[in-house]
Symmetry: C2
Subunit: 255 residues, 2 copies
DNA sequence: CGTTACTGTGTATCGCATACGCGGTACTGC
DNA sequence: GCAGTACCGCGTATGCGATACACAGTAACG
């Protein structure tokens, strides 16, 4: 028989409990002047304004109007803070689609919503993800994703697998796009110029080199020099549809 | 009219030139006691033995038998060294498949080869990738990938897009698997135990919570408690085949 | 043989995460 | 009321990280 409250279910990781709002304060000591929420928001503000590299404990503390060490009364480590930041940025998942929406459209919409999140916070893509989803919003997104896969007729394991595939696709593509954009932000040139530069780089490296016929053919097709009207978002959607085609084959095959 | 040699084609990034073996030494000063290759190998050894966190400049220098600062005579920054490490680990791409092999099998084999690389060096997955492929082995893998897509009848832009999709899939899945394995290596338990633990965690968090019907259904299916015979590698292959199905639809549609 | 460019290295700077201990505070049980 | 106690915010200290810089030695060049 345990004397503690139910929030104290054996050995949940501290940060997880904090994020879910379990673990209450025994109102013993002085009143707290900060709040976990405020700290996380300060961290988000720093990251958004100055990037992940600038997101140090001291910088966050300054933003929150406290000393560096005060933060450690609220989070166990910087990694934990970053995990909380990720969940904060994720926000709430989109609500369920209109009834009657097919799974394909529903999943596509889900991916687009996730893409929107990563577009708004590209810097956060560099935060390493350590484990399976355990934070509130993350779990809520998981729930929402599973919800949208109802009509697919897949068993539990497959559903999880497919969901991770969609999530992974969005994450990876978003990272690529973010890299591209930061590249031309850094160079101060246009995105087209970055493509042209990369084309020139490849051309210089593979010049007169018989080992790279495919790449040379690529270069001759001028896709770097004369990028079409495709935006990165078009590419994103293209790959997504391709992925969904694969899922459709899976469903047709009956799981 | 330029007096420098051809290796000095205007403004290639220094590290890129170094990796490709352009840029020769004007044999002025004392003989070098180290080599770029040796340093990269030392870095790889450290990473493999002690993980990415332990891979510091001083640690690598000790491994290479030199002082910390000596390394900076060979690489411009730690980031550059990491880029070289990545290319070293990548190694040479697999040769072309047997003639007559269909694109699907060829691409599948390509993905499996890449998966094999990431399996051997899971720690390296945490090295952030900064830009498009420019290092020798990386470009060679790109060439090899494009080569295997010949029969697909896609235009240049689409081919690149598809190749990134395959690469991204392998990278992401490998990262997930590596995280899983490091989790149970850290916990000292079995992989099954990690799944069980995660299931319990989810169960505790979503207990009696009407917001998470799908997750509770998932838990009731016992996939965490009684993992089937699926290994992570099976999951990997499953998702890959799914992705290839999507590409097949693309090809059938005619690009 | 001086000049020059390059070598490896020691030292120094600066920022980082975080352990630790202090003086103060507000609830608890009496 | 009042002592005890558990918690607050913070200053300080530690140790490690990347890397700028200056130095003394060395080898080719003129």
């Amino acid at each position: 028989m345990r004397e503690r409250n139910e929030s104290d279910e054996g050995g949940l990781p501290e940060t997880v409990e904090l994020a879910w709002g379990l673990r209450e304060r025994p109102g013993k000591g002085p009143r707290r002047t900060l709040s976990l929420k405020g700290i996380v928001e300060a961290a988000v503000a720093v990251g958004a304004a100055e990037g992940l590299d600038a997101l140090s404990m001291s910088r966050v503390a300054r933003e929150a109007g406290a000393s560096t060490m005060a933060l450690y009364r609220y989070v166990a480590s910087k990694n934990d803070l970053l995990a909380l930041v990720l969940d904060e940025l994720l926000g709430e998942p989109p609500g369920p689609p209109d009834p009657g929406t097919g799974w394909r459209e529903a999943l596509r919409d889900y991916a687009m919503a996730l893409r929107e999140v990563t577009r708004r916070h590209p810097w956060a893509l560099r935060i390493p993800v350590t484990g399976p989803p355990a934070m509130p919003n993350n779990v809520a997104w998981m729930e929402a994703g599973l919800r949208r896969m109802r009509g697919m007729g897949l068993d539990a394991g497959t559903r999880l697998s497919v969901l991770m595939q969609v999530t992974g696709y969005v994450r990876y593509q978003s990272t690529l796009i973010a890299d591209l954009e930061s590249a031309y932000r850094a160079a101060g040139t246009s995105d087209r110029q970055v493509a042209i530069d990369y084309g020139n780089l490849l051309a210089a490296l593979t010049a007169d080199d018989r080992r790279f016929p495919e790449i040379r053919a690529l270069l001759e097709s001028k896709i770097f020099a004369e990028p079409g009207d495709d935006t990165p978002e078009d590419d994103f959607a293209f790959g997504l549809d391709c992925l969904l085609d694969g899922l459709e084959a899976l469903v047709r095959r009956g799981g």
